[in-house]
């Protein structure tokens, strides 16, 4: 899977230019996080990846094919998009019917539908709620139903918009597990998130958007080692990284264990010198 974004511009009918010429290549299966303040253009950007929005300038090539050549419904075979609010997506009377809806729209063979639904339900821990009315699910569980309904369509790319919003510890872990598993199956996950703890834990590549332009784009260690540039986009590094950086440790650190390990290593060096 290769997504080439070529000088992407988007100007809304109101005259606001939300994207001012974005170019990058997203390739392979390493999950990508897109971060930035509200209004930085994150949602506008990802809405181009399955043709919900059409570029007003530049282009996007998905495996060489221009995004403009097909409708969103046609792209949905390859690019899945989980909306921020599951209430915009769900309308059927059981979770199972919701999971079947997408695969049937794209004419997936019946046996494949069953296999994909079983996989999606288990991955999202919905196997015991298949007969439940989505309306009776808790808001956070509804989100997993929406995620499973896209995974069941077996696309190569899955876009998530703020998946951790409102999730507790268990929910965030379940999401992390979903993203891991999808990567192992060769899927590319692209996620918009404000949750920096989740971002540095789950994603190897980070794209930082700011006022419709790419501010930083690269490996998470590289991106987070530039706190001064990050500040411009109003992105605050996660708590552990903030502590390590302010304590004078140069390289970005993301976990408590890594921080304590680094502190002990540095201390030993100081003691021996």
């Amino acid at each position: 899977m290769k997504i080439e974004i070529k000088d992407l511009i988007h100007t809304y009918p109101t005259g606001d230019t939300a994207l001012k010429g974005i170019s990058t290549i997203i390739e392979g299966t390493e999950p990508v996080a897109i971060i930035g303040q509200n209004g930085s253009g994150k949602t506008t950007f990802v809405k181009h990846l399955n043709g919900i929005l059409q570029p007003t300038g530049g282009d996007i090539l998905i495996n060489g094919e221009s995004i403009k050549d097909k409708t969103t419904a046609q792209w949905s075979k390859q690019v899945g998009y989980v909306f921020q609010n599951p209430d915009d997506q769900l309308f059927l009377n059981t979770v199972k019917n919701e999971l079947e809806f997408g695969p049937k729209r794209i004419n997936m063979p019946a046996e494949e539908v069953d296999r994909n639904i079983a996989y999606a339900a288990e991955l999202c821990k919905l196997q015991d709620s298949l007969e439940v009315h989505p309306f009776d699910l808790r808001q956070t569980e509804k989100k997993f139903c929406a995620i499973a309904s896209i995974i069941a369509m077996d696309p190569d790319v899955i876009i998530f918009d703020e998946p951790t919003m409102g999730q507790d510890v268990e929910g965030s872990e379940r999401l992390a597990n979903i993203i891991d598993d999808l990567r192992n199956r060769g899927k590319l996950c692209i996620t918009i998130s404000h949750d920096m703890k989740f971002v540095v834990k789950e994603f190897s590549r980070i794209i930082v958007l700011c006022e419709g332009e790419i501010l930083l784009d690269g490996d998470k260690y590289e991106v987070l080692s530039q706190p001064e540039i990050l500040k411009k986009s109003f992105v605050t590094p996660p708590p552990v990284t903030r502590v390590s950086q302010q304590a004078g440790i140069q390289k970005p650190i993301f976990t408590v264990d890594a921080l304590v390990h680094e502190i002990m290593k540095t201390r030993k060096k100081e003691l021996s010198s």
């Binding site: 303040q37 409102g166 507790d168 502590v243 100081e270």
Partner: protein
């Protein structure tokens, strides 16, 4: 400090459910404190909030037992309209907290005051004061539907504060906001607390909870698991049993402690964590 809110044996079962959402909850809130309520999704946090402000039983049907007292007055005998000047509620979705019958932020702030018959002169005074407090004085004449989520949430908080309640209940009021929007709300909450308001706050962000809370109440499957000072809860309680995260700052302290590099009080915020790390590194 005096107790302002006293909850005794509170249980509630929603009319469409077989099981109790909360069981036998008893606690007190002290006047002027920030009490945070934490717990996994479904542990009963929102049910407690709704019961405190009277939506249970006045608006939401089910079986309710126990008492909620504010300043020693049992709220069961009060109507919603009487409760709104004692205890306010702000919840998650900013846009569902607009009245949809106004066209400016100013009118929106006045909406509740009109309902309880506050004279217009007083309305004007109160709105001026609250608008500054909520940092929304710049868009008093704008249509609330044109504002960002964070701004609307400040309008919602303002609409609640303008009724001048003694207690404000905030039910995950920052979970749909971006980091900047959420940070602003937390700053305002601290200001309000300094003005003497008692705050009851439900939130998933444990770093924020540790930073802001005087005490923490832990809910688990509808029951009260623990209520204690923030330091005691995060420093000593086996949080994994309740599916709640320990704040990263606290974890740094605990981990340093395990390696015999720290033996002070449980760490509650960024500054303390940095100080502890620096102490090990440079002394």
């Amino acid at each position: 400090m005096d107790s302002i809110l006293k909850v005794e044996g509170l249980s509630f079962k929603y009319s469409n459910s077989k099981e109790y959402a909360i069981r036998d909850i008893s606690f007190e809130a002290k006047q002027g404190e920030i009490l945070c309520v934490v717990g996994a999704n479904g542990s009963g946090k929102s049910t407690i909030c709704n019961a405190l402000v009277g939506l249970i039983p006045h608006y939401i049907d089910g079986e309710r037992e126990g008492t909620v007292k504010i300043f020693n007055e049992n709220t069961a005998g009060l109507k919603m309209g009487e409760l709104v000047t004692k205890i306010g509620l702000v919840f998650q979705n900013p846009f569902n907290q607009l009245s949809y019958t106004t066209s400016t932020v100013e009118q929106e702030l006045a909406y509740g005051l009109g309902n309880i018959g506050v004279p217009r002169d007083e309305m004007v005074l109160r709105i001026q004061k609250i608008a500054k407090r909520m940092r929304i004085d710049k868009f008093l004449h704008k249509n609330p539907l044109e504002l960002s989520g964070g701004q609307v949430q400040r309008v919602a908080l303002g609409s609640s504060i303008v009724m001048d309640p003694d207690i404000i209940v905030l039910d995950e009021c920052t979970s749909q906001l971006d980091p900047m929007g959420s940070e602003e709300i937390f700053d305002i909450i601290k200001d309000l607390n300094q003005d003497g308001k008692t705050i009851i706050l439900v939130d998933h962000d444990m770093e924020k909870v540790a930073r802001i809370a005087d005490r923490v109440m832990v809910l688990h499957e509808g029951e009260l698991a623990a209520i204690d000072t923030t330091k005691n809860i995060f420093g000593n309680l086996a949080m994994e049993n309740y599916a709640i995260a320990v704040p990263d700052f606290t974890q740094i302290g605990l981990s340093l402690q395990d390696n015999h590099l720290y033996n002070g009080e449980p760490i509650m915020n960024e500054q303390e964590a940095i100080a502890a790390a620096k102490k090990v590194l440079y002394s």
